[in-house]
């Protein structure tokens, strides 16, 4: 018996030498470590934030002083942050449906018909995705001042819509392109009017794409800083509030608390959205939902 023969292990049907097995295990360990590292980089800072939000000290540094919830209580006594949160939510609630409508209209208009102006229209719709947000913000500011329109939540909303509905168009158009038109033909053949086709066949089947777009648009709008910063008047949004608080005061633990809360809510909403999309996926048999959400 040679040493090699003794070293052989049976793995499934293959005979794999022990050295390969060791290499495989090492590979798996290395990969796991790598993934953990990435996880730490992406989520570590956040977790630290959460820890400090319960820390009983004005200084955000080690060592930890003790558990407290007073920073959370402070939130409710600070009118500015409540106002900022409210504004962010209101803007997002208005911007989202507008984006869905405009985005879907554009998606249908671009992907369903062939006409001469199609390329320029598609280019125009895609343009905001190429221009940096900084410039959209600055441009918006100059634009409104030139027109003597005072800056306000409205101006924020308008510039946000313009920046984000093209992405909705991209998502919905991607779904529409894959849409099986024979389903629409079958519906018409069975007696459905154009409107009924839309209502019973098309909308239900693109609903997942619409929902994904809605969630994305809402969270983008809520999180948006750059564009909002330049086109904001006296009212601030949540990101703007955080920014100015950080710039004007050195250690403000209240920011930790509110950040933790907001982050927690976002996680919950996104998780719920994901579960909902899985449920929908199962119902319509549409397997392409997650890649859409992602891309």
């Amino acid at each position: 018996m040679t040493a090699e023969a003794v070293d052989l292990e049976l793995v499934a049907d293959r005979r794999v030498p022990a050295s390969t097995r060791r290499r495989e295990i090492a590979g798996t360990v290395a990969r796991a470590a790598f993934l953990l590292f990435i996880g730490a980089v992406l989520y570590g800072p956040l977790l630290i934030l959460v820890v400090f939000s319960f820390n009983d000290s004005i200084i955000i540094a080690l060592p930890l002083e003790g558990f407290t919830t007073k920073w959370y209580q402070q939130i409710f006594s600070d009118p500015l942050v409540i106002e900022a949160l409210k504004n962010s939510i209101i803007i997002a609630l208005v911007v989202t449906p507008v984006c869905i409508v405009l985005g879907t209209l554009a998606a249908v208009g671009i992907s369903r018909f062939r006409y001469i102006l199609r390329a320029p229209v598609a280019g125009l719709v895609g343009a905001p995705l190429v221009v940096p947000w900084l410039l959209i913000g600055v441009g918006g500011l100059l634009f409104f001042s030139r027109l003597h329109v005072p800056l306000s939540l409205n101006t924020i909303g308008v510039m946000q819509v313009v920046s984000i509905f093209p992405l909705v168009t991209a998502i919905v158009a991607a779904r529409l392109v894959r849409f099986d038109t024979s389903l629409e033909e079958a519906a018409r053949d069975l007696g459905a009017t154009q409107w009924e086709v839309l209502r019973y066949i098309v909308l239900p089947l693109i609903a997942p794409a619409l929902a994904a777009s809605a969630i994305f648009a809402f969270s983008w709008s809520f999180n948006n800083f750059t564009i909002s910063y330049f086109t904001a008047g006296f009212q601030s949004t949540f990101p703007i509030w955080v920014f100015s608080t950080l710039n004007h005061a050195k250690n403000v633990p209240i920011v930790n608390a509110i950040s933790t809360l907001v982050a927690a809510v976002q996680v919950v909403i996104l998780y719920a959205a994901w579960r909902l999309s899985r449920h929908w996926q199962a119902r319509t048999g549409d397997e392409t939902l997650t890649p859409e959400m992602v891309i």
Partner: protein, 399 residues
């Protein structure tokens, strides 16, 4: 009897040649319809036909012959460039799709994935605003007819291909259209399932009693199920007639080559008698054809069509039956028959079928043998002007 002829007897075809319709008013009248796409493409070129009230009518032809375009014009998804379509007495060209009294069974079934079978089948009746009880009754009725009564609450993706096919059929039938249009519905099914479904479709058509317009490229299918077949090629109808006529007495070379397997042997018409035509083939053999298509003239070019199963293999030169000297090249065992490829002295290919128990021994390959054909099985067609006489291999699709 060949398989095709057996199938005919099975399903009970009539023997009359070229009936126009069983009833007075046709369910469909297509009058000189042409469809052009853009400047160049003529998909359908001046075709006319009628479909009777309870007729199983097939549009048969290779890909690109215009059969699907024709069907879509009947359904309303395409508008004719010229010509008239009358459906159930109504001029259909001005009718939009959803108002027509036809329903289409799609090739890919087109079942709505987000609805149950029940909802799918109920879709048509619901669009007609029928009362709920009636809708449910109809759904139950058609699901029963396609033998899927317990599947109402399932989703399309849970069903097999054959079952989805039947649901698509049920969904169309639930509307009680005057005419049912079917676009190669059995294409995606395997052989056994296809044969079963052919039976089912024919049975349902007989039971429900409405006209079927059936598009297919499979000539065996068309021969099995149809009352009449329109053989199409390059936008035109080559031959419109009952399956037996199309098979035994095709009107054009294309039809002869497309339907079933055929040997197409070029030659010239030498004599014309009451018992038939004498045709001199290019290798010198003289054969007799009892039947012939229109247009055969003495002295003109002609093509002799003989089905492989009608050629007899003779090891010695037969005295009483016209025959062709050949050399055997290839043998393929096909179960109850053996298929032989042979070559004439001129190099033309001939295919013949020999019953398995009458196969010759290997020695038959080493010398010249003969294939004979009695006059009743030979059929003459006028050869095309441009010498367009295709061989059996070129024209007929795989058996």
């Amino acid at each position: 009897m060949t398989g095709m002829e057996e199938a005919q007897v099975r399903v009970g075809q009539t023997q009359d040649s070229d009936p126009i319709a069983r009833d007075d008013t046709p369910a469909i009248l297509v009058d000189r319809v042409t469809k052009r796409f853009g400047e160049e493409t003529v998909a359908v070129n001046d075709i006319s036909f009628t479909v009777g009230k309870s007729e199983f009518f097939s549009l048969l032809g290779p890909s690109g012959c215009g059969k699907t375009t024709t069907l879509r014009m009947l359904a309303g998804f395409e508008t004719p460039t010229a010509g008239r379509i009358v459906i159930d007495g109504q001029d259909a060209v001005t009718l939009p799709v959803h108002k027509r009294n036809t329903n289409l069974v799609f090739q890919n079934y087109a079942l709505f994935p987000h609805m149950t079978i029940q909802q799918n089948v109920a879709f048509g009746p619901e669009r007609k605003r029928l009362p709920r009880k009636e809708v449910q009754a109809r759904v139950a009725e058609v699901l029963e007819a396609v033998r899927l009564p317990d599947y109402a609450s399932r989703y399309p993706r849970e069903l097999s291909g054959g079952q989805q096919q039947r649901v698509a059929l049920a969904r169309a039938l639930a509307n009680r259209p005057a005419v049912l249009l079917l676009d190669e519905p059995l294409g995606a099914l395997d052989l056994k399932l296809r044969e079963n479904m052919q039976f089912e479709l024919k049975r349902i058509q007989r039971e429900v009693g409405i006209s079927f317009v059936y598009v297919t490229h499979d000539q065996g299918e068309a021969l099995t199920m149809s009352d009449r077949i329109a053989v199409m090629n390059k936008g035109k109808i080559e031959h419109l007639g009952a399956p037996e006529e199309v098979y035994l007495r095709p009107k054009s070379l294309f039809t002869a080559g497309f339907i079933g397997q055929a040997n197409l042997l070029p030659g010239t018409i030498e004599t014309q008698e009451s018992s038939g035509l004498g045709v001199r083939l290019s290798d010198g053999s003289l054969l007799r054809a009892e039947t012939s298509a229109e247009g055969c003239e003495v002295g003109e070019k002609a093509t002799l069509m003989i089905r492989p199963e009608h050629l007899r293999l003779e090891l010695e030169l037969p005295g009483d039956v016209p025959s062709i000297p050949v050399r055997l090249k290839d043998e393929t065992f096909q179960g109850s028959w053996a298929r032989y490829a042979a070559e004439t002295r001129e190099g033309a290919r001939i295919v013949l079928l020999v019953p398995s128990d009458a196969r010759p021994d290997a020695g038959a390959f080493d010398r010249e043998v003969w294939v004979s054909c009695s006059a009743e099985h030979a059929y003459a067609l006028p050869g095309d002007e441009d010498g367009d006489v295709a061989t059996a291999e070129e024209l007929s699709p795989s058996a």
